[in-house]
């Protein structure tokens, strides 16, 4: 308990930790934090001499006012949501897979390798590419998984460092090994031979958008009702107790991390076959990082991350629009950061309450009888 109190006998305001936090209160607190972040950002933009309200209207209009705006948001949301699911699976076991960005890259790379070298009917080719993406992501986390499971090597460091390797690897293939010599674009491979179909009658949004929307409820069920999910949750809560219960902890660590990596890899494959059509050195707009933030802020809740991921995608899309309107990329990033900080503060604030107490405050020293 943190006490902020005046000396003597005056009433005191105390910050107390709540024993239980109702989920509705937690959600409300997050939304208040989000709005506070937006408010601070708006005031800052206004002070810097730009009309905040009209900028906001423009951003909202560009997203909601046009059909293509919503579809663009969906394209951004797809990898963010998938990566958030990947991270959330690890978080259920207190495994921090910071390397989802790298797994995204390696999934995209492996899928592209199939897509530009094999010739097969589209459904067959897409299936093979999906398998390659899954394998690429899973292999990219294999070493961190084994190291964590058997030697307790911190996965935050290992997965983070492999991100940089993956980035360089993909850059090398994009601008050298697989470079498209026929096209004018310099930093990309030739187009992959099969693309994901569009969703219904949409203009640009592909069916990959449905994958995270389907996977989230599946994993919600897995962690609510399956034996595997129960065991993973118990390991996350207390690994010693899980061991006492006879659960093979190292094996579960490996399976959870490989699954997380596989979904990260799948997100890369979907982005290549759905959005970009080819591998580029900068194929990820930090989707893995955004997904990571979403999963952490959602507290590894699979429905919470759907809401959070869609919101972040909206924010990023607005940022792209506003950059088109001449707003500096730094301001856009600052708005993004302020909103995330607001949500994080709101999450924590829900756990505390303020209380005014009128009890007298007497220091223990004053109570002690003089010698």
């Amino acid at each position: 308990m943190i006490s902020v109190r005046a000396p003597g006998r005056s009433p005191a305001i105390r910050v107390e930790r709540r024993l239980q936090v109702a989920s509705r209160r937690a959600a409300a607190s997050r939304i208040i934090g989000l709005l506070a972040g937006l408010l601070v950002a708006g005031i800052a933009i206004q002070i810097s001499g730009r009309p905040t309200l009209s900028l906001a209207r423009e951003a909202l209009d560009a997203t909601f006012g046009r059909r293509i705006g919503l579809e663009e948001t969906g394209i951004i949301a797809t990898p963010i949501l998938l990566d958030a699911i990947a991270v959330a699976i690890g978080l259920r076991m207190r495994i921090w897979n910071i390397g989802v960005e790298g797994q995204f890259y390696m999934g995209a790379w492996a899928a592209t390798g199939i897509g530009i070298h094999l010739h097969a009917p589209a459904p067959v080719l897409l299936t093979l590419m999906a398998l390659a993406g899954v394998a690429g992501g899973a292999l990219w986390i294999l070493i961190p998984a084994i190291a964590r499971a058997y030697w307790n090597v911190n996965e935050i460091i290992t997965t983070l460092l492999l991100n940089f390797v993956a980035l360089q690897w993909v850059a090398w293939f994009s601008i050298d090994v697989w470079r498209d010599t026929k096209a004018a674009v310099v930093q990309a491979t030739p187009p992959v031979a099969a693309r994901l179909p569009l969703l219904g009658n949409s203009l640009i949004l592909h069916v990959g958008f449905l994958i995270p929307l389907l996977l989230a409820p599946v994993f919600w069920w897995v962690f609510r009702s399956s034996r595997w999910g129960y065991e993973v949750d118990m390991i996350g809560g207390n690994p010693r107790a899980a061991e006492f219960a006879g659960i093979n902890v190292p094996r579960r660590i490996i399976s959870v991390m490989l699954l997380s990596g596989a979904i990260g890899g799948l997100s890369g494959m979907i982005h290549v076959t759905g959005a970009t059509g080819r591998l580029q050195a900068t194929i990820s707009n930090s989707y893995g990082l955004s997904g990571f933030i979403v999963a952490a802020l959602a507290g590894a809740s699979f429905f919470g991350l759907l809401a959070g991921g869609l919101f972040i995608a909206l924010l990023l899309h607005s940022g792209i629009v506003l950059q088109g309107q001449g707003l500096s990329v730094y301001i856009v990033l600052a708005v993004y950061g302020l909103v995330l900080v607001g949500i994080a503060v709101g999450t924590q604030a829900a756990r505390y309450r303020l209380r005014v107490s009128r009890e007298s405050v007497v220091s223990p020293a004053a109570e002690r009888a003089p010698p």
């Binding site: 009702s225 034996r227 949750d233 009888a369």
Partner: protein, 530 residues
């Protein structure tokens, strides 16, 4: 304020070079309670210049609390600490050491990744603001030379043996000018030879006029190294006396108190069928030191075998061995005749071994998870609770509801996290869950430690019920009253070995107290036939 401390024995031996009566520190009427539970109640203590003063007592007697007050870590609720005739109110350990009182804790407080020299100078006022690594090492060597304690100043703490780390701790306190050095259970982590070396250091320190407070429960060590002894029991001072002339038997009696009423509720003749057999088992603890040495024990059907002993004498490791949580180096473990040596926790559970781990929250339960999940933690693989892939959620709810009712767990709902339950209700849940497993063997480690009266009664009733149902119960406890009250047979563990085994009818409180302190006597009775 009390005027004088009643002590047995003579005044200080060297009044010439001591202020007045040679007393450096006097504690008067110290009381301290934690959350309403009294840990110390009006304790007096006087420390003389140039003496080794032993603080003797069982776990929870108040030795460490009293030392922590002297060293400025806790503040007393009542009473006074007088140093050199002046009353002091220490706000912090640093404040206490200004008055010359320093403490070396049982668990060292060193920075493992820093060197000896760096640790010595960390947080010390005399440390220069800018200094080269070499000069730091030189300063350290100079300090070591003055104190007669030697460790490589440039070695990292993690490279040192436990004995060397302790030397660094002692040096740290002495270099800050401590005249009174408090050592909390200093030999608990040491090997035999390291303990010998430590005694040499202690003698050298008192020879140059310092005072050493030596906290221990080991009678032989206390008799060997100390000049005077203060015995604490249940937060009270029992006596302060000269060590010369004290006998282990007398000290054991003072430590453990007179026997309280022992009820023989529902006691019956134990069966002869061995359910848990531990044969010549040797195992190492987490630090890699041998902590179970050639232990042989048998628990029969329908009996409670009480394993008495002060904590940290290998009981924890033995309990882990017979539940599959620790591998052994030698020996065999059998459950109902089936060899389960180094089997997994799951195989022990499947063989009908239930266990109440000593660390309930750290090993037995998942505090962040709801009661429902914890209730089935050791049962969820049963076919009525889960199919191949999915859990049977309705059956699990019913199972948890039944367990909560039968174990008398008070909880708002089976969906409340276990961390919201009181300690007593957490233990009721754990005991109920493990009792369902314990068709053959029930291993209970300190099952009532820290519980209130009602929860204690419930837990004890569960153990007796298990025994009456024909299971073999291994009760590990450092509460001698509990062991004597519940057990059909009693064994004593000391430094990894079983020193004696008695039928309850032959169990003599005083003799057990002696064995708990590691004191073997020639007139020790024959071990009970088993």
């Amino acid at each position: 304020m009390p005027a004088a401390i009643p002590t047995e024995g003579e005044p200080a031996r060297d009044p010439a070079d001591a202020p007045s009566d040679g007393v450096v520190v006097r504690a008067l009427g110290i009381s301290k309670s934690f959350d309403g539970a009294p840990a110390l109640d009006g304790v007096d203590l006087e420390l003389r210049k140039g003496e080794v003063h032993a603080l003797l007592g069982e776990n929870g007697a108040g030795k460490t609390t009293l030392s922590n007050i002297l060293a400025g870590i806790y503040r007393a609720d009542a009473g006074a600490v007088v140093v050199d005739g002046e009353e002091r109110h220490f706000r912090s350990p640093a404040h206490a050491i200004e008055s010359g009182i320093g403490m070396v804790h049982q668990h060292f407080r060193l920075v493992e990744t820093a060197t000896v020299a760096e640790n010595l100078h960390l947080g010390w006022q005399d440390t220069p603001r800018w200094i080269s690594r070499k000069k730091l090492a030189d300063r350290t060597r100079r300090q070591m030379g003055q104190m007669g304690l030697r460790v490589d100043p440039n070695a990292f703490i993690w490279q040192l043996s436990v004995g060397e780390q302790q030397r660094v701790e002692i040096l740290r306190v002495l270099s800050r000018g401590a005249r009174v050095l408090i050592l909390d259970e200093p030999t608990a982590v040491l090997t035999e030879q390291e303990a010998r070396d430590l005694f040499g250091v202690i003698r050298a320190l008192v020879a140059e006029g310092r005072t050493v407070v030596f906290i221990s429960h080991k009678l032989n060590e206390v008799l060997e190294v100390s000049d005077r002894i203060t015995v604490l029991r249940d937060g009270h001072r029992v006596v302060t006396r000269e060590t010369a002339g004290a006998t282990p038997r007398e000290l054991a009696r003072l430590m453990t108190g007179e026997a309280r009423e022992v009820s023989v509720e529902g006691h019956r003749e134990p069966g002869r069928q061995p359910l848990l057999e531990v044969v010549d088992v040797t195992a190492r603890g987490s630090r890699g030191l041998v902590s179970v040495r050639g232990v042989t024990l048998t628990v029969h059907a329908g009996e409670i075998l009480g394993l008495a002993g002060v904590s940290g004498n290998g009981q924890t490791e033995l309990a882990e061995v017979v539940t599959g949580m620790r591998r052994i180096d030698a020996g065999r473990v059998r459950v109902d005749g089936v060899d389960l040596t180094n089997a997994s926790p799951r195989r022990f559970a499947d063989a009908g071994v239930g266990a109440i781990p000593e660390d309930r929250i750290g090993v037995g339960l998942v505090p962040s998870a709801p009661v429902r999940s914890n209730a089935v933690l050791r049962h969820y693989r049963r076919s009525e609770l889960s199919g191949g892939l999915a859990l049977r959620r309705v059956a699990i709810s019913e199972f948890a509801t039944r367990l909560v009712a039968s174990a008398r767990v008070q909880t708002r709902s089976i969906d409340s996290p276990v961390s919201y339950l009181s300690g007593g209700n957490q233990q009721r849940l754990l005991v109920g869950r493990e009792g369902m497993l314990a068709g053959r063997v029930f291993v209970a480690s300190h099952p009532t430690r820290g519980l209130d009266v009602n929860a204690t009664a419930d837990v004890r009733a569960s153990l007796l019920a298990k025994r009456d149902a024909g299971s073999g119960v291994l009760l590990i406890s450092d509460d001698l009253d509990e062991v004597l009250q519940l057990s059909d047979r009693v064994a004593v563990m000391y430094e990894g070995s079983v020193l004696g085994e008695f039928d309850r009818s032959a169990a003599d409180r005083e003799r057990i107290g002696l064995l708990m302190g590691g004191h073997l006597e020639a007139d020790q009775p024959e071990p009970a036939p088993s």
